[in-house]
Structures are given as structure tokens and as C-alpha cells.
């Protein structure tokens, strides 16, 4: 399986994602934001970081990068695109995903382990996942997902909610919402479910000596699904 990780100026989880993808069998290529064409890919990943310093709205400058037109075309043709953290923000800004990401409720950066409940497994990202609830890691300042009532109804009706913040048993309630996201949303799909954006970092949970291994479960499952 071939994957591509886009490096924007200010990306800082690009290497971590490269390490994770390779560990689970992807042939990964790093792609510079100023390139025009994507290499042949089964998966395109927009990594975390602070693209363009996030000095305008997070992800907004990056969403206008040269490479993004190719990413958008790739997604529109049904290609699998995944955005983590800042990558999620870029996907939202580029219009590939609905809604916005606001500053965290307490206006503070949050770095900690959290649990997410997988809401929809009928897609290439989560199909046949061994666990319903994953222990992952978040590290962000703007992860507070928000959308209008109409949009919420739409994404809900279309089963576009990918992940909810939950407790370790998969119970979703306000106590386990780290950033104020509407309905505890931690990740969403586009309508077609070939584009996924999520705040948690699975690439930081790929080794038992790190904070956990649920990221490994995610990536192993992902490459198996893409091979099918």
C-alpha cells in the first residue's frame, strides 16, 4: 500500500506519521506543500502541527497550498484522505469536511490521553476494528468541533460522526469531553466516508513503551482494510 504524508511549513507530526505508516507496512512518501502532483497513493495523510504557524485560523493558509488542489481532486475521486489534528483543521478549511474547529473550551492547550468511541465502522478506516473504544492521545489548542444545527442534523443523519470522546467503557458524556466539542465529536467523515478528520493522534500510540498501543490496532486494521 502506498501512502503520502504532506509536509506544510510548520507541520511537526509529519515524521511521526511517516514512522507509524512504515511500521505497519505502508510504503510512505513525504510530499512538499509546494508540489503540484501527488505520488500514486492509496492513502493521503495531512499530519498534525502548526501549518503556517496557525497565525490565521488554524489550517486556513495550508488549505490554499499548491498541493491541496490535488488532494481535493484525489478525495473527490474517492481516494482515502486522513487528517490528524492540524490535518483535520486543514480538511475543514478546505471544505472537504463540514464544520469548524474552535479554540478549546478553557482556552488552554490540552495534551493528554483520552478515550474515543468508534461510532461508524462501515468504512475503510474502522471496518473490522478489534475494539470499539480506543485509548488515544490529544495535543491541541483548537479541537472544539462546532457546526450549525442544520449541519449537525445532516452529519448525524448521514452517519458522518466517526469518533466521540468517551470514557474507557465507551460511555459518551460531558465529563469526558476535553475541549467542548459539540456532542463530544472527536472525528468526522465526509458524506462518502473516504475522508476522515480527527483530533486524536493514533501515531503517538504505536508502542507499549509509549502511552499505549491502540494506535497500532488502528493502523494494522487500516492497512488491512485498504488492501481489500
Amino acid at each position: 500500500m502506498n501512502s503520502s504524508v504532506i509536509t506544510f511549513p510548520g507541520s511537526n507530526c509529519d515524521r511521526d506519521m511517516d514512522v507509524a505508516l512504515k511500521k505497519f507496512g505502508f510504503k510512505n512518501k513525504m510530499v512538499w506543500h509546494n508540489d503540484v502532483e501527488l505520488p500514486k497513493s492509496d492513502l493521503v495523510v495531512l499530519p498534525g502541527g502548526f501549518s503556517y504557524g496557525d497565525y490565521l485560523r488554524c489550517g486556513s493558509m495550508a488549505s490554499k497550498s499548491k498541493i491541496m488542489q490535488s488532494v481535493i481532486n484525489f478525495a473527490n475521486d474517492g481516494g482515502k484522505v486522513m487528517g490528524i489534528c492540524n490535518g483535520f483543521q486543514i480538511l475543514v478549511e478546505s471544505g472537504l469536511l463540514p464544520g469548524v474547529l474552535l479554540r478549546n473550551k478553557y482556552l488552554e492547550f490540552i495534551c493528554k490521553n483520552i478515550f474515543v468511541k468508534v461510532n461508524n465502522t462501515n468504512n475503510s478506516f474502522f471496518k473490522a476494528l478489534k475494539k470499539n473504544t480506543l485509548k488515544l492521545h490529544i495535543a491541541h489548542n483548537e479541537g472544539n468541533y462546532f457546526c450549525s444545527k442544520e449541519q449537525f442534523k445532516e452529519i448525524n443523519d448521514n452517519n458522518q460522526i466517526a469518533l466521540y470522546y468517551s470514557d474507557k467503557n465507551g460511555n459518551v458524556d460531558e465529563n469526558c469531553n476535553p475541549n467542548g466539542s459539540i456532542a463530544n465529536i472527536a472525528g468526522i467523515f465526509n458524506k462518502e466516508k473516504n475522508v476522515l478528520g480527527m483530533m486524536p493522534h493514533p501515531e503517538r500510540m504505536i508502542d507499549p513503551v509509549l502511552s499505549g498501543e491502540d494506535g497500532s490496532i488502528f493502523f494494522e486494521n487500516l492497512i488491512n482494510n485498504l488492501k481489500k
Binding site: 510548520g10 507509524a20 502548526f50 509509549l210
Partner: protein
């Protein structure tokens, strides 16, 4: 502007220093030259009060590749890998403008590390605030924490450990000490020594603005009621540009174009150009019209003294300009050839085709003033007798509650959560343990790092305090299974012009030197911050030690969380019951007199080395050093982290229970071992003449001190976490 004695005094120079400048130049300097002298001769850049004493510190060792004098120290960790590290203060700016002050402190220290070719892999910080009740404290705390996070998080470098303290002596002068570790291959280390004549001098990074002018001079003076006016001397950070600068520099460093490189930190273009010239024993000529400026009509004086951040000066090989420019263009950074190296050993500046400065380099560096300041010795305080009658009214659990929820002991989770601790995917021990640990990417090795300071002990007796803090750093590294290698120090003191403060400095440095020599734990880099003083009130002497150690196989790392019920807990090292200057004496008994605990370097070394040996044999399941708050505080933290309890035994010798549980005798660790290893472990301890006490056993969920004193782990967690959240209003 006409330069005279008064103008020089306004620049922070002393009258006799001004006279010396005129004598050296054999004329009156112009204003640009005076600015350059004031920047190079201030305390911050010249170490004029401290040099005399710092030269006695042990700086060599078999693992030391580079000691003090470069941008950062470098140690060998085997297999062609080296670790570059340093700690630096950003105290004065952080008090004036906490967010930017702290942010640029973090940015500055990371630049020091990647200037040497190393990719930063971990950040640490030691931050000290005034009394929590002081009106400024809460905002300063918020601002500093957000500033540290704002910069480090954006750079994508994990913050892995640190220290936060509160003490009224920091009411008017907070301390922000930032430390960075970087990883580099031994044959790819870059230095700041210029070499060769006619080599192009290159400016890269951000444009130069009017921010931070006289920042270094500001940090070399005491605060008074006019400090608000000093805001313009605080630099403004741009972590995004620094991230680009990091990547661009490392890309250029992969080749062989660079002869020397130096970041523009304190005193900006002035100190960077002069340091490179001085080390290379040559001159530098700069055309200031070529310097990329952010603002219009900047004068030579402003350009030379600006402390705009995220800038580097590089001496390049001839003919490599285009190749280098391409890289910086790719990263959207300014790149300008601004001058060349010359043989006449002068710093020569041109502006609008006029020579605006012409100073022999040696007058600025070798001839800079050095003072042997007067200082006063601090006598060891008389022993005090703490009446045991006082203990009768105390309930142990209540005392423990008070200590665990005190500002200096309580959980700092609210702070840590604002720092990215896990980016780069190699953090294997996060903040809250004895030391932070990161893997050396792609290898089996890991490095551990810790920052420590003990201002109370240093204040009570600087010589003992100086020793203690080095020992504490050593212990923290041992406790995670790392072999301590070297330290960096950040020496925060009041005014050197005051004999008491200078005495504190001299004796802390002496203590620090003795301990580091004995433990073979040399000082490879550091920084001195004097004038942490408002009017005539100085801070408590606060030398901060950043220690670095190596874990050869990261699978062998040890953590402090209790692992398994029925395992045995031992206290390694003798508990004598020293209470003076302990948290218990000061906060519970309100007794502030007496000497700090004694340091026995032999025991310290012996105990630490044997702990490492026990770890090598995999006997130790968890470990924690015993420091502030004594055995019971240390054990409570192990319980909280592991969500396990412990059942204590009485010590098998005569000692008061409060003295046993709360005393702060040094050189001690609590270790958890399996029952069937008890004989093996105690055999080794006995053979090496190490005292140990059988502290008790691990249980499921309750800390049982005696029949009357029990507390559940949930309650302990509540004690530990409530204060800071309440204070910050969460």
C-alpha cells in the same frame, strides 16, 4: 548624539568602565560603538562578576565532547551519538511580559541547541513564582505556562519534565529557566569559531526589528518602580519562523558549506558577530545596509542592538552562497550576505558607505571587565531542637494532606497538560516522574533529564544547598534507571554588588562544584542570572541544575508508580530524622531556622551506584527518590501514580514517627522489590554498607501508616490535585 560619561552611565556602564573603553580605543566611542560595548560588557554577556568563580567548576570528563564556552554543552552517549544541551534563564523579560518572556526563553534555548547541528528532542523548564496570594502571581503563572507551551508546542518538541515552585522571595522577580536537549551525530557537530579569510558572513532567519533593544542590559540591572517602561526591551517570539529556521539550518548542515554558525540571542548581531570573530581570532566586516530589516529607517545602533528572535549568523565556505540561499528560499526565510571575515581582528561596520564602527575584537572580549566582588560567608546555622511535644497535637493524615496539597508539592497536571509531551513519538516518561525520558530516535537508547533547585536549602546554607541540588539531580536520574552523565546550570541570584548575595553565589557555586566533581557529573554548559532583585530585595539563591543521564536499553527504564500488591518496599539510605528546613518544619511547625540536611557525598554516590546495579539485575520494580516532604510524601506519590496502597512497618530502630516520615535526610530512595528477591537485594545492600529500612508492603488501595492513620488512594489523589485547580479556578 555626543557620547560622554553620562550617556555611558545611562547605558548601564560604570564610570571607570567608560574610562577603560576610551583608553582601549584611544578615543571617545561613537554612539553605535558605545552601544556595542554596553551590550558586550553587561553582566549577562560578559559574566564579569561570575567568571572568576565559575572557572573552578569541573567541566571535563570522559563523556564530555564540549564543555562551557560554546552555544551549548555536548556529551557522548556512544555509537556516534551525542547529546547537546543547555539551560538558560529568561527571568527579567518574563516578569515584565510573561507570555513573550517565557516563549522567547524557550525559543532561545532551542536555537542554542540546533545552532550546534542537533535536532531538539526534549524541553524542560524550572519556573518559580511569588507567593500564591501575591496579586501578580496568578497572571504570571498563566502567562508563563502559556508562553512555554505556545513556543515549544509549535516547534514540535516535547516538554518532558520540569519544576514549579512558589516562594514570596520571587514576588518581584519570577524565574523562568528553560532547558533543551538535542541529538546529533558526533561528526556533525557545528561550532561558532570562524575560520578563513574573506569568507562570506550570512544572515538568515527573521528580519530585524526594534524589539528587544537593550534586552541583555535590562537583564543586568535590578528592577524598580519603572519596570513597566521596560516592556519594549522584551523580545517577541515567532515559533513558526523558528521551526522553519530549524529545518532550514539542519538541511544546510547536512552538507559541508558551514564553517561556523552562531545564533543571535542576547545582544543580537553584536554578540554573535563578535563571538565568532573572537573565537576564530580574526575580524568581521559588515555592511549594515544589507541586514534585512522589518522596520524603516533603522539606525546602525538599533540594528546592532536589536534582539529580534529567530535569526542566525553563518560563516560560509566561498562559493556555497547559492546552494545555501536555495535552502532558505525553500523555507521562505531571509538570506543575505552581509559581510566577510577579515584578518585585521576588528569589528568594522559600514552604513550608507560610511564606517560607523571600528573596534578591535579583543577590547570587547578579552579586555572586558572582570570583577572579584566582595562577598560574605554564610555560617552554618546553629542546630535547633524541635520539641517533640509539638507533634502530640498533630494527626499524621492531616499533616500529609496539608503537605500533598501545598503549592510546592501538589500535582502540576494543569501545567503539564498545556505542554505537548508526546510529539516526536519517543517520550517514554512524561512529566510527573523523577525525570523525563525520551528515546534516541531509532535506537535502543534513551536519555533521561531532570531539572532541580532547592532555594530553601541554598538560602539556609549556600554551600550545603549547592551540593544538595547536584545530588538531587543525580538521584532523579538514577531513580529512572539512567546513568548520570553531566549537568548544565542556571545560576539565579540577587545583585552581585551586594556582599550577601555575592556570598550566596560564591558558596553555592563552590558546593555545586564539590558535588559535581565527586560524583563525576561535570558541568558542560550554563548561564548566570544576577540582579534578580527589586530595589534592595533579592530572591532566595536559586541555582537550577539540569541533569542528563543515559539508559542504554530503554526497556530497562524504571518508573515510580507502585506495580504489584505484596511487593516489598525498602528505604535505601539512612533516615536520621533531620527536620530543620524541611517542608514539615517550615509549613507545619512554622520553624524556619536551622541548617539544611547534611550532604554525605560518599553515601550519595555509593547509594546511587548500587541502586543502578540493582536495576541492572532487574530487581527494582519501581523507585523514587526521597526529597521534599520526606518518606511519606515520596511514598504517597508512588501510591498515587500506581493507584496502589501501602502498609507501613515500624522502623527497627528508635526514631520518632514524625521524624521518620517527614525528615529530609539526603541520599535516600524508596524501591519496590518482589518478595522472593528480598534476600538478594538486602545482601547486595549490606555488602556495600548501605543502610536500608523495611518500609512495608504494597497493597491494593489504601495507605496504612499505623492503626490510627489510614487514607485511601482516592483521598490521596484528592489531596494532591485539588489545590492548583482551585487556585486557577477550574
Amino acid at each position: 548624539m555626543i557620547v560622554n560619561e553620562q550617556v555611558a552611565v545611562d547605558h548601564g556602564l560604570k564610570k571607570d568602565e567608560y574610562k577603560k573603553i576610551c583608553d582601549l580605543l584611544k578615543r571617545v566611542p561613537n554612539i553605535t560603538e558605545l552601544g556595542i560595548f554596553s551590550a558586550m560588557w553587561n553582566e549577562h554577556c560578559s559574566y564579569k562578576s561570575s567568571r572568576f568563580h565559575l572557572k573552578n567548576l569541573p567541566t571535563k570528563g570522559k563523556n564530555v565532547i564540549q564543555g562551557p564556552g560554546e552555544n551549548a554543552g555536548v556529551i557522548d552517549i556512544g555509537d556516534d551519538d551525542a547529546i547537546v544541551f543547555k539551560i538558560e534563564s529568561h527571568n527579567h523579560p518574563s516578569f515584565i511580559e510573561p507570555y513573550q518572556g517565557a516563549a522567547t526563553g524557550v525559543g532561545g534555548i532551542m536555537r542554542d541547541v540546533f545552532t550546534m547541528g542537533a535536532r531538539p528532542i526534549a524541553n524542560l523548564n524550572s519556573i518559580h513564582f511569588g507567593s500564591p496570594q501575591h496579586k501578580k502571581t496568578k497572571n504570571l503563572l498563566r502567562g508563563v505556562v502559556q508562553g512555554i507551551g505556545g513556543y515549544g508546542n509549535c516547534m514540535g518538541v516535547p516538554t518532558i519534565a520540569g519544576q514549579t515552585s512558589f516562594d514570596e522571595s520571587y514576588n518581584g522577580n519570577i524565574l523562568v529557566n528553560a532547558m533543551t536537549l538535542g541529538h546529533v551525530k558526533k561528526n556533525k557537530i557545528f561550532y561558532s569559531k570562524a575560520a578563513g579569510l574573506g569568507k562570506p558572513v550570512i544572515y538568515v532567519g527573521s528580519k530585524t526589528g526594534r524589539d528587544g533593544i537593550h534586552g541583555a542590559s535590562m537583564a543586568s540591572a535590578v528592577f524598580d518602580e519603572k519596570i513597566e517602561e521596560k516592556k519594549p526591551t522584551v523580545q517577541v517570539g515567532d515559533p513558526f519562523t523558528e521551526k522553519l529556521l530549524l529545518e532550514a539550518c539542519l538541511e544546510l548542515m547536512a552538507g559541508d558549506s558551514i564553517i561556523a554558525i552562531q545564533d543571535m540571542g542576547a545582544a543580537g548581531l553584536t554578540s554573535s558577530s563578535i563571538e565568532m570573530a573572537s573565537k576564530g581570532n580574526l575580524g568581521i566586516e559588515i555592511n549594515l545596509n544589507k541586514v534585512p530589516c522589518r522596520e524603516k529607517k533603522m539606525t546602525p545602533y538599533e540594528i546592532m542592538l536589536s534582539e529580534s528572535q529567530e535569526r542566525m549568523l553563518i560563516v560560509l565556505e566561498n562559493g556555497k552562497e547559492d546552494l545555501a540561499k536555495k535552502i532558505f528560499d525553500k523555507w521562505n526565510l531571509d538570506f543575505a550576505v552581509i559581510g566577510k571575515t577579515t584578518k585585521n581582528k576588528k569589528i568594522e561596520l559600514y552604513f550608507n558607505e560610511e564606517k560607523v564602527a571600528d573596534i578591535p575584537v579583543n577590547t570587547l572580549v578579552e579586555n572586558s571587565p572582570m570583577y572579584e566582588r566582595k562577598w560574605k560567608k554564610t555560617k552554618l546555622p546553629k542546630k535547633i531542637k524541635i520539641e517533640k511535644e509539638q507533634f502530640k497535637n498533630l494527626k499524621i493524615v492531616n499533616v500529609l494532606n496539608k503537605i500533598l496539597s501545598s503549592p510546592n508539592i501538589c500535582s502540576k497536571e494543569w501545567i503539564w497538560q498545556q505542554y505537548d509531551q508526546t510529539v516526536m513519538g519517543d517520550t517514554i516518561q512524561k512529566p510527573g516522574g523523577d525525570a523525563g525520558v525520551v528515546r534516541v530516535h531509532g535506537s535502543n537508547k534513551a536519555v533521561a533529564a531532570s531539572v532541580d533547585s532547592s532555594a530553601i536549602y541554598c538560602w539556609a546554607h549556600p554551600l550545603s544547598g549547592g551540593k544538595q541540588v547536584v545530588c538531587e539531580s543525580w538521584r532523579n536520574l538514577i531513580a529512572v534507571g539512567a546513568k548520570p552523565i553531566a549537568i548544565t546550570n542556571c545560576l539565579n541570584f540577587g545583585s552581585p554588588e551586594n556582599e550577601e548575595n555575592m556570598g550566596e553565589f560564591v558558596e553555592c557555586v563552590q558546593g555545586l562544584g564539590e558535588a559535581s566533581l565527586y560524583l563525576e557529573f561535570p558541568v558542560v554548559s550554563g548561564n548566570v542570572s544576577f540582579y534578580n532583585q527589586t530595589k534592595n530585595i533579592g530572591i532566595k539563591p536559586t541555582p537550577t541544575i539540569g541533569g542528563v543521564g543515559l539508559i542504554k536499553n530503554y526497556q530497562n527504564m524504571v518508573t515510580m508508580d507502585l506495580k504489584q500488591s505484596n511487593n516489598i518496599l525498602l528505604v535505601v539510605g539512612k533516615t536520621e530524622g533531620h527536620l530543620a528546613q524541611s517542608l514539615f518544619a517550615r509549613d507545619i511547625l512554622n520553624e524556619k531556622n536551622g541548617p539544611p540536611p547534611e550532604i554525605n557525598l560518599f553515601n550519595e554516590k555509593n547509594n546511587g551506584e548500587i541502586i543502578l546495579k540493582l536495576m541492572d539485575k532487574k530487581f527494582i520494580k519501581s523507585a523514587h527518590d526521597v526529597s521534599l516532604g520526606g518518606i511519606i510524601t515520596a511514598l504517597s506519590k508512588m501510591c498515587i501514580k500506581g493507584k496502589k496502597g501501602a502498609t507501613l512497618k515500624k522502623p527497627n530502630y528508635l526514631i520518632n514517627q514524625f521524624e521518620y516520615l517527614f525528615s529530609e535526610d539526603q541520599g535516600r530512595y524508596i524501591i519496590e522489590i518482589e518478595k522472593n528477591n528480598f534476600n538478594n537485594v538486602t545482601e547486595i545492600l549490606k555488602k556495600n554498607s548501605i543502610h536500608y529500612d523495611d518500609l512495608g508492603t504494597v497493597n491494593e488501595n489504601e495507605l496504612i501508616i499505623d492503626e490510627k492513620s489510614k487514607v485511601t488512594i482516592d483521598e490521596l489523589i484528592k489531596f494532591h490535585t485539588s489545590w492548583l485547580n482551585r487556585y486557577i479556578g477550574k
